[in-house]
Amino acid sequence: MHHTTTGEKILRGVLITLALVFFLFPIFWILLMSFQTNAQILRIPPSLFFEPTLINYTSLITGELQTAAGSLKLEFMHNLWNSVILSTGSVLISLLLGVPAAYAFARYKFRFSEDIAFTLLSFKFAPPLLVLLPLTLYFQAIGLANTYIGLIWVYQLITLPLILWIVRGYFEDISPDIEHAYRIAGHSWAKTFMKISIPLARPGIAAAGLLSFIFAWNNFVFALVLASADKQPVTVGALAFVTASGIQYGQIAAAVVISITPTLALALFAQRYLVEGLSLGAVKG
């Protein structure tokens, strides 16, 4: 058994601290900026000491932004709500469709199975703008333009392939023996899938769900092209702080802090499942 020496412990501590500073400093700096006014942020030279203000958060929440050119209306909270609807909706639908499909691709060999799986993956290869212009025409023709349903449908291009391929890998790694044992005990296929397969693949489903949620949350171009201003997510809405009369750095920082909160909360929540799933294990080899 290997024992770590004090030197190794110190070195490890230093390296972890450096890594943490490297990754977390920008977020820490943004957090500080979110409590400063534009004038404080832009002062020369910059300073770590300032009188904190909540004005950035209040203007985001109340929807009023004071700029050099006067008062501007902000739709940030509405944009945030749009992001929640679009990302949650698309991940839920992808899970509903993708998990059974992933199971089928993992467990059954049927005609064209690989081709179909690859075709679904290939949706991720297409440059979005190439798909979007024809889609705009179709969406207008069938009345889906500028609707949440239409956007969630298009978001499947992002979320469905991701969920399908990650979860498929998890199902393939789980031995079918447990499922067989459960089936022999007289349970139906559907019950086996729900009671055995899904719980075993839960870490994979959680990871895939989380990852696709992040991808959907960060998407920019789909809603920009296919929807009006009232359906825009936070990624497009945040650009409203870049105005002709100046950049509102304080509000941008506050917007970043608010907009990473749901993803962060979800990641912390899903982490439990990830750890739980990995530590419990399934079948001993």
Partner: protein, 481 residues
């Protein structure tokens, strides 16, 4: 509305009383700022209706949808939109997108033939793509039709350089505003490129606003180090068309230099003439010695922010950028002054290249006549006055607004030298680019070469020869040569 308030607003509209007197009396009557804006809109309606030369109600019940850029011009229009609805009985909805993504949205909407938007904001350069592609309407058929356009709308009141700059016959290299040019859009608000400077910093360094390029370089020399770490001059430097069109092209044109020349219908790059090389040498030296450290990343925002925050002593960029930096929560608000510049010591006047925010009509609109009614209203004298007097709807595109005493008094009081710089340079203000479909390719290549020159990766003479050769290749491949 009560008679007293109505009389007061009408008196202001008829210019019987001044702005200060108006504000005093409005205060006495207990009228707040928001109510004031609404009342002024109503006064504007009465003025338009009284003209009696246009049936504003003819499209009553129609709903229009606009595509707008997040800009003070759009804000001024939205603030006054209720008065349009009241005047016409029409409904108007709109989508506002930030500038960073605005033109992507416009291109996507127009290229897909979407009928969603009836009218939109655009820049004049963009119409060189949108117009020939058939995405936007030639407005001449509306402007010249007395049954569709009110006589009092007065097209001749728009500044002539702007009318010409927004009209093109679609032939690469032909003169903007030539005889058979199509009017692709209506000028709405515009920017001239001149000097905006920090007055206290100039006073501390003991320099005056520079009137030409040698004076500019001499001023920069004195400003360097005179105010701590403040650098003397901010100009744009990102790898984009936006680096070429403000101060750079304004100065370049002042020496009589051109981007392209039209040689019997064939376009040819003209950046490698002796005159152009001399100007480029000065410009590159100016950035290297007196510009910002990260110049190659500088866009509108960084140039403006540095002036407003007191990191730079002056900018050679849009006058309205300097205007915005003189207000709000900018550290240097109140310290900015303005001056026209004719970089060529032998030039008789400045030649600012202009950016014109304009209104265009989508060819795919199902409500074109109604859209034209809106465009007339939004570009009317009355709305221009409303925006110029009460909002940041500057620079106005109408000559009559530049004669409005209330507007002039307001600007003169808060923005020293602004009116003078405008009046000095307005006669020479127009688009100095050659209109052609490869506009964005040519200007991006130009900015990229400028970056290499500033980084000392290539000499100015050699760089411009290479640039001209590569642009000639592109023009040839596109069949323009």
């Amino acid at each position: 509305m009560f008679d007293k308030e109505k009389d007061l607003i009408d008196a202001l509209a008829r210019r019987q009383i001044g702005r200060r007197e108006f504000m005093r009396r409005a205060g006495q009557l207990g009228i707040g700022a928001a109510a004031l804006s609404g009342l002024m809109g109503q006064a504007m309606n009465r003025a338009l209706a009284q003209n009696g030369d246009y049936d504003w109600k003819q499209h009553q019940g129609t709903t229009l949808k606009l595509l707008l850029n997040k800009h003070p011009y759009a804000d001024a229009m939205i603030a006054n939109l209720d008065s349009f609805k009241e005047l016409t009985g029409m409904d108007v909805t709109y989508d506002v997108f930030p500038e960073d993504v605005y033109f992507d949205k416009v291109t996507a909407a127009l290229s897909s033939g979407s009928s969603e938007y009836d009218a939109l904001m655009t820049g004049a350069y963009m119409t060189w793509t949108y117009g020939p592609a058939g995405w936007i309407e030639d407005l001449n058929s509306y402007i010249n039709d007395p049954s569709k356009t009110a006589a009092s709308w007065d097209w001749e009141d728009f500044l002539p350089g702007l009318r010409a700059s927004t009209a093109w016959d679609g032939m690469p290299g032909s003169e903007l505003g030539s005889g058979d040019a199509k009017q692709w859009c209506l000028p709405w608000g515009f920017e001239q490129n001149n000097i905006s400077y920090n007055r206290p910093m100039f006073e501390k360094a003991g320099v005056e606003a520079p009137a030409d390029m040698p004076a500019l370089m001499a001023a920069c020399e004195k400003l360097k180090g005179a105010n701590g770490d403040v650098y003397p001059i901010g100009v744009r430097g990102s790898r984009s068309w936006a680096t070429i069109h403000p101060g750079f092209l304004s100065g370049y044109a002042n020496f009589g230099e051109k981007d392209l020349i039209n040689d019997g219908g064939m376009l040819k790059a003209a950046m490698n003439t002796d005159g152009s090389k001399a100007f480029h040498r000065d410009w590159v030296k100016m950035i290297q010695e007196f510009g910002p450290k990260n110049w190659s990343t500088y866009t509108w925002y960084q140039v403006g922010t540095d002036l407003g925050a007191g990191a730079s002593a002056m900018i050679y960029d849009a006058d309205i950028l300097g205007y915005f930096m003189n207000g709000g929560d900018n550290a240097e608000a109140g310290n900015i002054a303005y001056a026209a510049i004719a970089p060529n010591p032998e030039a008789s006047a400045p030649t600012p290249n202009v950016w014109i925010w304009s209104l265009a009509m989508s060819s795919f609109s199902n409500n074109k006549d109604a859209a034209w009614t809106f465009m007339q209203w939004a570009s009317s004298k009355e709305h221009a006055l409303f925006g110029a007097r009460t909002m940041d709807f500057v620079n106005p595109v109408r000559a009559s607004v530049w004669k409005d005493q209330q507007f002039l008094d307001r600007i003169d009081a808060k923005y020293p030298g602004y009116i003078e710089q405008f009046e000095t340079s307005a006669p020479g203000a127009k688009i100095y680019f050659t209109p052609q479909p490869l506009f964005f390719d040519v200007t991006t290549a130009w900015a990229a070469m400028l970056q290499r020159m500033v980084a000392n990766e290539i000499g100015v003479d050699e760089g411009l020869d290479q640039l001209a050769e590569s642009i000639n290749d592109q023009l040839s491949q596109a069949g323009l040569q």
